[in-house]
Symmetry: C2
Subunit: 340 residues, 2 copies
DNA sequence: AAGTGATTTGGAACCGGTTCCAAAGGATGC
DNA sequence: GCATCCTTTGGAACCGGTTCCAAATCACTT
């Protein structure tokens, strides 16, 4: 059987209050007593029970992490950041993997029903009005990561700057000399579709405007599908009358579709066409794809830091932070072929 | 403040033992009493405290899941299976994401030091002799997933059948008419490298032998690197005197390398060369790659079932199960081009 | 009506920490 | 030596469940 705080007290010849004080680093213990207690702890190989601690503290020492489809790169990277920050703290973490709207509802209901966790971190999910309210009145610290639309009062938000990412892409292409730039983005209609794609588009538009280039609607395609649909859209672009010299796909999967389309159209990358993706997934390097590396890991890390800070100092102001993405230039972009 | 079991007892006009019995579905409560208690629970919106429950039960109601690099497809899929099985049970789950040998040691030490969790599920990590022993004497239920070498007494193992997977690949290629089959596999020297790649090779060899085909060492290459190294190995194969008509890559990333090599060598897939991967990662469908789909999700699911079962019935015998993989035939394999 | 055994019920004790208050101990000043 | 004040200490009470035992209730016999 494990030793308890009472065993330690007996062994060290002190009261249990004193042992508790030593464990928690209270300053009001005489040095000589502290040493005696630490020795007893050592000898008995005593480890305080986290569960008893929780009960008497009235805290769960647990944080909920709510994510959609944790197979996605955008999610696993953030989770890595979260885990890295949390490990070593005294908090545990429970996961809610959300794959259907029903599960999302159930999860949030369970969470708001207090006493389950001390705080929650929500990734890439937008709360409904009702859910926001419920959280707000439950007064449970909450941090949202990648939730552009849930700017709830008092709730911290950590975002990766997707508008800026879109700009970076276009500025890179412009600086290479491209003027006709096509875009294939993800619409925001699919369930659990983050707004990120739309924002990347916005950044893209802004950069073009800033460069004084007129927006040609024919060059902007959206799809709610996957790589396959992106390939079809790309083919349409490439076979149009006045095809673009570069295509920006709003994620790396779409970029694969674009690469395939180019191959089918008999074009060679990057000589006939420049291609840029977004996310810097593992295979992007394989495909030598120029892409954007958003700070996913860092956003998870930062989100958890903010949450822990809030848990330690209840009166902390909410944080609103946006992390700058990074452009990764690889072999899929080059200056456009001079007009024949 | 949350209602407690005592509030419920008072409201229902019964003792607290009775309330506890109702909550836990004990049969020895009169129907009429049960109804009264349930009504009080309803009215007070009472939810029993999990923490208090843990303390008095002397259980943590928590399961540890230890994984290496949870960005890998093989890991996230299993985690999905684990999560799906666990959600809805009364257990929580804490993650240990292991990215260095030191963290692995630290994690296992923390776990074995009991009272932290009730059981553990370890994915794709091989325990050292010492760790196995420590677990064994701590008597904590343990389930290993994808740990071919840690056949510890009394510890359940759930594996995906990699030997069989290798056989499936070769049998498929043989049935198409291929006779010279090259292989590019991952060596087992990298840290945290699962034995899986080696076993796939074994299956491959067995199938060839069974078909009466002599093993040509020149056709079997191993590398500890990634896709890039696989590409180089593939080029070496393709440029050899008597090149294979099909190449089996022991994972889908390697298969990308092979596809690239083929393109560089001016070969067209599948007409000049058949390529098979392993894992059925997301991009395999994109690349129209014939591959093997191991039951990762299912192995996670099954592992957790076994663990929960063991936690419920302490005397349960350990389970040793192996899940059959599935061959996914796509467009990257075809009968070999008839000899010119 | 009383006796018997089975069923149902109440609540003290317990799980292992934390906290708070009263009391003991120690230092200082006069 | 004694009063005063600050530091240190001991331990009861508490957190909110579960468990177990004794007591109460009930159903049935005789």
């Amino acid at each position: 059987m494990q030793a308890t705080i009472r065993d330690v007290a007996k062994k060290a010849g002190v009261g249990l209050g004193t042992v508790s004080r030593v464990i928690n680093g209270s300053p009001q213990v005489r040095e000589q007593t502290r040493v005696r207690v630490l020795q007893a702890i050592e000898e008995l190989d005593f480890h305080p029970s986290r569960i008893a601690r929780r009960l008497s503290l009235g805290k769960t020492l647990t944080i909920a992490v709510v994510v959609p489809f944790f197979t996605r790169h955008t999610v696993t990277e953030r989770m890595r950041g979260i885990e890295a920050t949390l490990s070593g703290s005294e908090y545990d973490m429970v996961f809610y993997n959300i794959e259907t709207p029903e599960r999302m509802q159930a999860a949030f209901r369970e969470l708001a029903q207090r006493k389950r966790v001390d705080g929650a971190l929500v990734i890439s999910l937008d709360l409904t009005e009702e859910e926001s309210q419920r959280f707000q009145q439950s007064n449970m610290p909450l941090v949202l990561i990648d939730a552009h639309f849930s700017q709830v009062e008092g709730v911290s938000c950590i975002d990766t700057d997707d508008v800026r990412g879109g700009k970076l892409v276009v500025d890179h292409l412009l600086s290479l000399g491209h003027r006709r730039i096509g875009c294939i983005g993800d619409g925001a209609n699919a369930p659990f579709q983050s707004m990120a794609g739309r924002l990347r588009f916005d950044g893209c538009h802004q950069a073009l405007k800033a460069a004084g280039i007129e927006l040609a609607p024919a060059l902007f395609h959206e799809t709610n599908g996957g790589r396959h649909e992106a390939r079809l859209e790309a083919l349409r672009l490439l076979e149009s009358q006045d095809p673009p010299t570069a295509i920006f796909a709003s994620n790396d999967s779409f970029a694969i579709g674009v690469l395939e389309a180019a191959r089918e159209a008999g074009m060679s990358i990057p000589y006939d066409l420049s291609v840029v993706g977004y996310n810097d997934e593992e295979f992007a390097e394989y495909l030598d794809l120029t892409t954007i590396r958003p700070k996913y890991f860092e956003s998870g890390q930062r989100g958890m830091e903010v949450l822990l800070d809030r848990l330690a100092n209840n009166d902390r102001e909410p944080a609103y932070e946006t992390l700058e993405p990074e452009l990764i230039v690889r072999g899929s972009t080059l200056e456009p072929r001079p007009a024949a």
